[in-house]
């Protein structure tokens, strides 16, 4: 594979990993945020 394609491949792996890592963290903490939001929004 030529150098330019290799560079694009590396960039793809870097940026897609960033996406999936952030997605994982967001899913982990998002459940807590969602339950907080719902408890704060409960009608009094």
């Amino acid at each position: 594979m030529d150098l330019a394609s290799t560079i694009w491949m590396i960039l793809f792996y870097i940026f897609s990993s960033i996406f999936f890592i952030i997605a994982g963290v967001v899913i982990f903490f998002g459940f807590k945020d969602l339950s907080d939001l719902l408890s704060k929004s409960e009608k009094k």
Partner: protein, 496 residues
């Protein structure tokens, strides 16, 4: 095709769960702030999830894959440009922090605070029309995607689309932004898992070497170097950066997520982390498009290559999860967009033209009616309208129609003390001019004199379209300072 009844079963369970959760949000809605901006209580992780889910729909996957298929590796460059725009917004708080401090619910509300009611009304109309038109082709692309992955005919698809739309419209109407946030989060989980599974499966079937060979053979250097690509170049880069700053901070469905955040600081962080995900989330579907090029060759067509690849290589069972993910992506986009455009119609078009402002209860009721009407419109429009150019061109043009004028008006209003209402009104009109000119003149491009050819180049037209309203805003404001003194809004921009 690998699609089976088992996949249908997974999709039905998913749709049922979405309706149930979306409708549960109804019990939490007390007032218009709860309905339109989820009571401004959304924290960081949830804010990122809901913004990512809103900005990924099946149409996003389709046009990103189409872009990868037609541009080769050069398409990845657009993903990086998208990322830069949002990181700038997130890092500096450019526009979004200022708007969040003002505690508004729609962008045109700012126009009345800084300028006057007429600017708000014009801004509301332009935003509503361009937004609804922009959304008009989403269903069409969902139809193409589903027909290719499920192997069903177009006749069945219209029924699937109607069911999907009924589901989204019902939970959006009843639960407002809270139901959007709840279902967005659930959809974010499914989309992320679906994207990961499809990428892994595709990379086991099509190697990077296959893709590299296909790109070199079909596009040569233009497929690897974005500056050598005839469809990209410097104007494209300049236009994309400014357009990303504008739409990133001012596109109502995106900005609404800043308005929902629990503070301006959280709003900035949501945009920063969203920006960090953007390059990857763009490159993943672009890679699917590139893999389709390598797998089938160019004859399959840029639009249907990616869904056909998924329908061919992803096994049954997993395909159901992936399709549920795609439906999730579309539904989260529809619900957020429906709520955004109905909010704008209610608060910025109907309310300003009434002598007596709408009460909280009335504004929620009117927004619900608009959500329903927009839903019916996109169903009819999506199936009757034939897209004149590529999906990307259409989306960009309708987006530019609003974003270019709004960018000059909002950025000018927040950061330039001399911005006045006449300058703002003129800039909004100037923003519509270039996309309209392009749309009309593109039809007659063969009979145009050579010197006018630049207008029918989408990159030059887009770039000029972004710059022109800024120039108009500055010139008109400076010329009318005495007759129309600018409003000072610094007292409203207090930190929370």
């Amino acid at each position: 095709m690998n699609y089976t009844i088992f996949d249908t079963f997974i999709i039905i369970i998913y749709l049922g769960l979405t309706v149930y959760l979306g409708l549960r949000a109804k019990k939490y809605i007390e007032n218009s702030e709860g309905y339109f901006v989820a009571g401004r209580k959304v924290k960081l992780a949830l804010g990122i999830a809901t913004l990512v889910a809103t900005e990924i729909g099946t149409v996003t996957f389709m046009y990103m894959a189409e872009f990868g298929f037609t541009m080769g590796f050069s398409s990845f460059f657009m993903g990086i440009l998208n990322m830069i725009g949002f990181i700038i917004i997130g890092y500096t708080g450019f526009i979004v922090s200022g708007l969040r401090k003002l505690k508004i619910m729609t962008i045109p509300e700012f126009y009345e605070i800084k300028y006057n009611k007429n600017v708000r009304l014009l801004g509301g109309i332009v935003l509503f029309l361009s937004g609804v038109l922009n959304m008009g082709i989403f269903l069409k692309f969902d139809a193409i995607f589903l027909s290719e992955t499920m192997g069903l005919g177009q006749n069945v698809l219209i029924y699937i689309m109607i069911i999907m739309l009924i589901v989204v419209v019902s939970y959006t109407i009843l639960g407002g932004m809270l139901s959007v946030v709840i279902t967005d989060f659930m959809q974010f989980v499914i989309i992320s898992i679906g994207m990961l599974i499809v990428t892994i499966i595709i990379l086991t079937k099509v190697s990077f070497l296959d893709i590299s060979n296909a790109v070199n053979m079909n596009y040569g250097e233009g497929g690897i170097n974005p500056l050598k690509n005839l469809k990209m170049g410097w104007f494209f880069i300049g236009w994309t950066i400014i357009a990303n700053l504008a739409t990133g901070s001012l596109h109502q469905p995106i900005a609404a997520k800043a308005f929902c955040s629990e503070s301006p600081k959280v709003a900035r962080k949501v945009f920063l982390f969203f920006g960090l995900t953007l390059a990857g989330r763009s490159m993943v579907p672009m890679l699917w498009g590139l893999a389709a090029l390598a797998f089938f060759g160019p004859s399959v067509g840029a639009t249907i290559g990616m869904p056909r690849l998924i329908g061919t290589v992803v096994p049954s069972g997993v395909l159901g999860i992936v399709l549920a993910g795609m439906l999730a992506a579309s539904m989260s986009t529809y619900s957020a967009y429906l709520l955004s455009w109905s909010s704008v119609a209610t608060r910025d078009i109907i309310s300003p033209i009434r002598k007596v402002p709408l009460s909280e209860e009335q504004s929620i009721k009117v927004a619900k009616i608009f959500s329903l009407l927009i839903g019916i419109f996109i169903l009819v429009f999506g199936f009757l309208y034939e897209i004149p150019a590529t999906a990307y061109q259409y989306l960009v043009l309708t987006g530019t129609m609003y974003a270019s004028g709004a960018f000059a008006v909002v950025a000018g209003g927040l950061y330039w003390k001399k911005a006045n209402s006449k300058g703002a009104f003129s800039a909004l009109l100037a923003g519509i001019l270039m996309p309209m000119l392009f749309l009309v003149l593109e039809k007659f491009k063969n009979s145009l004199p050579e010197w006018m050819g630049f207008i029918t180049d989408i990159n030059i037209s887009g770039f000029v379209g972004m710059i022109l309203p800024i120039i108009v805003m500055v010139i008109v404001s400076l010329l009318t300072q005495k007759s129309t003194p600018p409003n000072d809004i610094t007292k409203y921009l207090k930190e929370e």
